[in-house]
């Protein structure tokens, strides 16, 4: 998107946190240059010259509503100026009104649905598009638990009013993490990635007509943890050894918490040794894929 209105494509991104006490995140822009290259990331300021920040609650401690996940530039209120809609750790959405090319109001307002803050579970991920083709912008979002969700704009192009959340793609239910949990919940591992049939957790969405058939499709990015067998180890052996190792891991975490610096160092060494032990028969791979949902 062309954030500063100079006719050259820019890249707009949220960034999680500036690691200050309130954990507020920043907005970053890679300004495009003619010739297709980009400048280094620059913090996006509000029209008051200060970095744009998500509004926080009361108090001066860490506030998950200020941790920025994803930013999206669009003309939400139809005034011809590019606005900014942002998601956060807490799962809500806020709107910075545009004040002309590259300028945004310093203070944001939370987007509402039915009088309440619009919200997905956590890690809101706004992508605005005229989903129902009625001339105004609707909001589609991923979430920390996966899936894709739609808030239809039931107002107008100039006075957006969002309806209740609808599910476009069900949340994955945590299948992004193959390992983990306590004794009762430990799932049997599936090696490799051939078993993947859809997105995992922590989804990020984009909407466009990808195949050119005139219908809006959905792109969904995700996070998934895969488990591979170590070189030379067959699946049966790896599965047996992994089951035994998981019991050791669970016993390890049931120990009383370490005390003092020496105790923490000992705990850390033992933990690293345990992880190293697993590498002899299985290896985790954290990655993310992109899934295409073509509209029927």
């Amino acid at each position: 998107m062309d954030v500063n209105g100079d006719g050259v494509l820019d890249v707009l991104s949220g960034s999680y946190s500036r690691q200050d006490k309130d954990m507020a995140g920043l907005f970053q822009v890679l300004h495009g240059e003619k010739g297709g290259t980009y400048r280094k990331a620059e913090v996006l300021n509000g029209s008051d010259g200060q970095p744009l920040l998500l509004p926080g609650g009361e108090g001066d401690g860490a506030d998950i509503s200020r941790i920025c996940t994803r930013a999206f530039a669009c003309d939400l209120n139809g005034d011809g100026k590019l606005d900014l809609v942002a998601g956060n750790f807490g799962g809500t959405f806020c709107w910075f009104a545009g004040e002309g090319p590259g300028k945004f109001a310093p203070k944001a307002t939370w987007l509402k649905a039915g009088g309440e803050d619009m919200k997905v579970e956590m890690h809101s991920d706004p992508c605005l598009v005229d989903w129902d083709k009625d001339g105004d912008l609707d909001l589609v979002s991923g979430s920390s638990s996966g899936g894709a969700f739609l808030f239809v704009n039931e107002g107008s192009k100039t006075e957006p009013k969002f309806g209740a959340m609808q599910t476009l793609v069900k949340a994955s239910g945590g299948h992004g993490m193959v390992l983990g949990g306590d004794d009762a919940a430990m799932p049997e591992v599936t090696f490799g990635d051939a078993h993947l049939k859809g997105p995992g957790d922590d989804t990020r969405v984009w909407v466009d007509d990808v195949n050119g058939d005139g219908k809006l499709d959905l792109l969904v990015g995700d996070m998934v943890t895969l488990v591979h067998t170590a070189k030379g180890v067959d699946e049966k052996t790896a599965r047996e050894k992994l089951a035994a190792w998981q019991k050791k891991q669970q016993a390890f975490f049931k120990q009383p918490p370490p005390e003092g610096e020496a105790g923490q160092q000992k705990w850390q060494k033992e933990y690293e040794a345990l992880e190293k032990e697993k590498e002899a028969f299985a290896k985790d791979e954290m990655t993310g894929h992109v899934w295409l949902y073509l509209r029927k």
């Binding site: 991104s13 920043l26 980009y38 990331a41 994803r70 476009l168 792109l219 969904v220 992109v290």
Partner: protein, 96 residues
Amino acid sequence: MVTLTLFVPLILAAPQGPQFEAPVRMKAGDAFVACEAPGFACPTWHDVDGDGKKDLAVGQFKDGKIKVYKNTGDGKLATGEWLLAGKKPAEIPGVW
């Protein structure tokens, strides 16, 4: 028990959502589009290179880098290349 047996196929046959075909994991070249660890793929469909065809750009957690998969125009994507700032892969600090 009989009731369950009768109803399970009906539930499975019901459409999960009315509007989509089954999801397809996107490929670029012969490989799946994939992020570096720890993942967190954030896709965008946009004409990045200005050739009139929309490309796939995927942001990731690690170093806040973005990989661009050019649309080759035959329904396929080329192998990804990092989006550059100057001559180095662009990095966005503090990205989730």
